[in-house]
Each structure stands twice: as structure tokens, then as C-alpha cells.
């Protein structure tokens, strides 16, 4: 599904190098967790996958289902099946959540050569997905993310994810700012989307999220490189001993 080969990248503006040779292969059905201390490049990796222009890839490649993803615009990547759940979902005043969902779903369908959804079909899908995630109709009528609490924003992200039915989900610190109950709702929403055809990359600081979303593979990212890969027990080990051992290994 996703193959990242020797990826080097820097901040376009000041040329600060962030990623220093990442190799990562994710197969359909797998859930990979990427852990690492602040500043290790976790969020940068997610932004580069989604196509944010602030970063510049200097070396390496990213293949998404065999296609060179770095040649694709952000909206083309989304239509091809990539979804990034943002760490800080942005507020968009004046754009009603419902209108936004319809525009996004139909834009992706159009890009894939499918017909636009009928209004009843669209409403049915939204209502079903919203019910599972505890998203009220009132929230859907409001402008996107405007005045939403931290938990509401994260639930709205997962709602979008379930409606857009991506092939690869990248969750960037989806647990940040969530209390225990909200964490459970969000994790349940994510787990519902696990399927043999879909892969996930879960980026997090804490092992806590991985109790709910149990990964198949855990990677430790440090100073722009993956320094250790293991199974879910690696996360427990990190929780106990911290990152110090691995950071030293990278240096």
C-alpha cells in the first residue's frame, strides 16, 4: 500500500533538515504506530504524506499503491485514498460542516469518476456515521470546527475519515487533548474502520492510545530516522523506559 524509501526532507523556508532517511513499508490491513519524542519528525512525516507545501523532499520517494505520491497534489492524494487526521483540526468560519462534508465526498467521487451522491444517500451516511461518534446534528450545522471543543474536533476528524472511506489513514496525535471518555469514542470509531483492505499509521507520543488501537507494528522515530521497529510490546517498553535508549542508539 505505502512504500517510503530513504526519505529526506527539510523545511522549505529555512532548509532545516527534519527527515534523514526514512524507510517504511505498510501493507493493507496493517496498523503501524510511529512513536518518538518531540521534534523527531512525526508530524512532518504526516504533512509530507498529505502534501503540505511547507516541506521540501530532497531525496527518496513515496509510492502509494505503486504510484509516485510526491507528484500528486494534496487533493489528488486524498482522492487516491489518503486521509490525514490533523493534530490540530482547523476552524473554517462560514463553511457549514454539512456543506463541507458533501463537497469533499463528491469532489473525491468525481475525481474517481463516480457519480455524485444523492441528497438522501448522503444524509443517510452522515447520520449513521455521526451516531456512532456521538456527533450531534447541531455540530453538523455549525461552521466546520468553529467553537468545537478539543474532543469535538477530533470526533469530527474521525467522522470525516469514516465518510471518506480512505485506503490509508494517517492519525497525527489524535489522542492529544482528549479525556479518557473521548479517547474511547475516538478509538472505537477508528477500530470500526479497521479492515483487511485498509491500512493505518498512528502517530502518538503515548502508549495510552495503543491500548485502544492495538498496532501490528511499532516504530520509534528519532532525529528524522526510524531507529527501532518491533511489535506492540515495544510500545510498553517505551512507556516504561522512555526514549533515552533509542535516542542514544541513533546518535
Amino acid at each position: 500500500m505505502l512504500e517510503i524509501k530513504n526519505l529526506h526532507a527539510r523545511i522549505a523556508e529555512d532548509e532545516t533538515e527534519i527527515l534523514r532517511g526514512i524507510d517504511l513499508t505498510v501493507k493493507p490491513g496493517e496498523v503501524h504506530a510511529i512513536m518518538g519524542p518531540n521534534g523527531s519528525g512525526k508530524s512532518t512525516l504526516s504533512y509530507i504524506l498529505a502534501g503540505k507545501e511547507d516541506y521540501e523532499v530532497t531525496e527518496g520517494e513515496i509510492l502509494f499503491n505503486g504510484e509516485n505520491m510526491l507528484d500528486m497534489e494534496p487533493d489528488e492524494r486524498a482522492a487516491a485514498g489518503l486521509f490525514l487526521a490533523f493534530q490540530y483540526p482547523i476552524e473554517i468560519p462560514g463553511v457549514a460542516t454539512m456543506e463541507f462534508l458533501k463537497t469533499a465526498m463528491n469532489a473525491q467521487r468525481k475525481a474517481r469518476g463516480e457519480d455524485a451522491l444523492s441528497i438522501p444517500d448522503f444524509m443517510k451516511r452522515v447520520k449513521e456515521a455521526a451516531a456512532h461518534l456521538n456527533v450531534s446534528m447541531d455540530m453538523l450545522k455549525r461552521p466546520l470546527n468553529v467553537g468545537f471543543s478539543g474532543g469535538e474536533k477530533k470526533r469530527a476528524e474521525i467522522l470525516q475519515m469514516s465518510l471518506l472511506e480512505p485506503k490509508l489513514c494517517v492519525l497525527d496525535e489524535t489522542d492529544s487533548g482528549l479525556d479518557i471518555d473521548a479517547l474511547r469514542v475516538v478509538s472505537d470509531g477508528v477500530n470500526k474502520l479497521r479492515s483487511p483492505n485498509r491500512a493505518m499509521i498512528v502517530i502518538t507520543h503515548y502508549q495510552r492510545l495503543l491500548d485502544h488501537i492495538v498496532p501490528d507494528v511499532v516504530h520509534v522515530l528519532s532525529k528524522g530516522k526510524i531507529v527501532k521497529t518491533g511489535d506492540k510490546d515495544l510500545a510498553l517498553e517505551l512507556e516504561k523506559n522512555g526514549y533515552a535508549d533509542f535516542i542514544d542508539a541513533a546518535a
Partner: protein
Amino acid sequence: MNANTPIKHTQGETDLIARFETARESLAGSVSVGALRAASLAQIQDKGLPHRRVEEYKYSDLRAFMKSAAPLAAPAEAAAVRQALNVQDSYGELDRYRIVIANGNFAPEVSDLADLQAEGVSVADFAKALTEDGGSQLLGAPKTAPGDGIVALNTAFVQGGVVITVADGAEVSKPIELVHVAASHGACVTRSRIRVGAGAKLRLLETFTGDAGAGEINAVFDYQVGDKANVAATRLIAGDAPAPRLCTTIATLGEGCLFKSLGFVAGPDFVRNQQFIHFVGENSEAKIYGVSMARASHLADQTLIVDHAVPHCNSREFFKTVLDGQARGVYQGRINVAPHAQKTDGEMMTQALLLSEEAEMANKPELEIFADDVICAHGATSGQIDEDLLFYLRARGIPEDEAKTLLVLAFLAEAIEEYDEDDVTAGLETRVRDWLAA
């Protein structure tokens, strides 16, 4: 004839002076109306068209723009009027009454007069009223408007228009569209007086259609709003037009009334939409909105003076502008508060979104306060599309153009939604989309 040093006339001014000589005999009005017309022309003759050295026209130099002046439009032929109305599409299927002004003159045969009569609305011919006793009073204006060059130009050349009278207490059940049709090329100079009786309710849609060619359109709307009346006036100035579009609102507000207006501008090369709002009765409220879009090298000017001459009145001014290419936008808004106009509450905001490097916005909010117990605020912003918002939308699969459309629409819709007139919301938002897709 005048004490000032004579100015050297531009071709536009020379054309206007010749136009006046040609049309003089046929322009409607009593002897005193004729004198007012002559005095107004003399103002143009002496001072020229409004230009950038006149403070109110600093950013909108009509004199430089108006390189020539076309003759006044000839009386419209009925068939041409009907044809123009058939292709007109201002508010789609919206259920509404219609009053038509064609080539500058009232066209009763295509107006819904009987239905309006039943609602308590009478409509008279402005040109005819000018010939009657006291006709010159129809050309009067409160203190902030008379010296204005565009109003003077209107007074000199006004062909006709309508006098709409809404009876006391009449709540007109549907919006009334006052359609200005250009059925053939030529300048259309109109004035309408709208008298809204005490406690009456009126939704007026001011629209313009047809092709006036090189002729300017100069329309003055003179609202006299009675006590406790409720008025919403939506002005739609759209489409391609190479000649100036000059629209003026004069509103005199009685006691305890609500006057709302929204000036929507999208398309023509040179638009000046100006409003002079006067509170003469206490406890009234004015809510004035503007939505402008301009591209290429076009100009969209929204100018406003709100005159708080009496205490206890509120005004809200909220203007949005989107500019692309080398377009220029202008917002000039002034709130005057007279010395005894205590407890005035005025809040003015103008915001511009610049879609290109070369677009230019002049925001000039002004407060002139002579009373000491008032609340007045103003703000102005200019900015570009937020890249983070754009990226978020694109990351959800929305292509760049569509994402920009969504963001521009959201920006402008804030004013349209606060205006809160459900009848026009959908129509205006469609217009925004049309403009963005063009």
C-alpha cells in the same frame, strides 16, 4: 458666470454639456425643476466631474474614468422591454412583485400595479410628478447629499423613475423588485422616491438589467421611512458594463424604525455605490451591508455616511470585498454623531480579501463624534486566503479552485447572512459563485 477659475473640460464633460443642451427641452419638470437642473449642470461645468482631488472621490476618479458621455437613452420600445425582461435573471423563481423602469422611464404596462394597489402600495410616475406643483421638492436631499457630484449629475439629467408610496401599516407580503431595464444603448438617469408609511413593512429589490452600451447608469433612491416602519433594500449591480454604474441611496429615517440595506456589486468596470443615511427620529436602527467583487482593472466603491442627528439610534455597517487581478476596492464609511445625539451606538467593520498580488483595497472608516455618551467602533482588515485553510480543504480531496470558491463564498456570506433576508440569500450566493466561475 462663476467666480472660480474656469476649468478645462474633459471630453466627458464637454459631452455632458452638449447632452444637456440637446435634451433640455425634453427633460421633464416644472420651471423650478428646470432651474435645479441648470444649477446642477452648472456645478459640473464649474467644478467638473468628481475627481481624485475631491476628498470623497480620492480613490474613485470619475472624471478620469468617464472619457466620454453617451446620449441619454431614447424612450424604450415595448417589445424590447419585454425581451429584456424575459432574459433577466436576478432572483430566479423568487415570488415577487415587479415595478419596471425602462430606459429611464416608468413602464406601467409591465408593472404589477393592481396587485400592489391591493397590498396598499401605489406607484406614480416620477417624471410626471416633476411637472406638477411642488415637483422640485422631489429633488431635495438632506444635508450630506446635495453637494455630491453624482447626485448633481442625476439632478441635471434625471429622466424619470417612480414614486412608490406604501400606506401606513401596510405589510407588503412579497418583495417588490424595482427593475431598471436598459432596452437600448444610452445613459439611464433615474430617481425614485420610496415613501414608507408609519408601521409599514417593505422589502425592495433594486436590480439592473439590459445593455446600456457606453451609457452610464445613474440611479438615486430616496427613501423616506416613517415611524416604526421596517425596510430592507437589496441592490444588485452585476454583469459586464464598460460605463459607470453610479447608485445613490438617500434615506431619511423616522422614529423607531428599522432600515436595512445590502449593496451587492459584481462585475462592471466602475461602480460607485453610495449611501447617505439620516436619523431624524429617535430609537431607530440602520443596518448597512456591502458585498463587492472586482477583477481585471475594475473598481468597486462603497461609500457611506451615516448621520446620527438625534439621540438613541443604532447603526451597524458591515462590508466585505473580494478583489482579483489589478482590481481596486474602496470603502469609505463615516459615522457622524451630532453634539446632542447621546446614546448613539455605531459599529462599523470593513474586511477585504485580496486574491492577487496587484489588487488594491482602500479602507477608510471614519468616526466624527461630537457627543460624549456614545459607543462607536470601527475596524478594517485586508488579507489573503489563509494557506492553512486551503490546505485543510485540499487534504480532504477538494481541488484548489473549488476550495478557493468555498473560502471566498464563506468570507462574503458572513455579510449576506448577517443581513438576514432569506428571500435574497440564495440568489446572492449564486451570484458569488457565478462571479468566481467566470
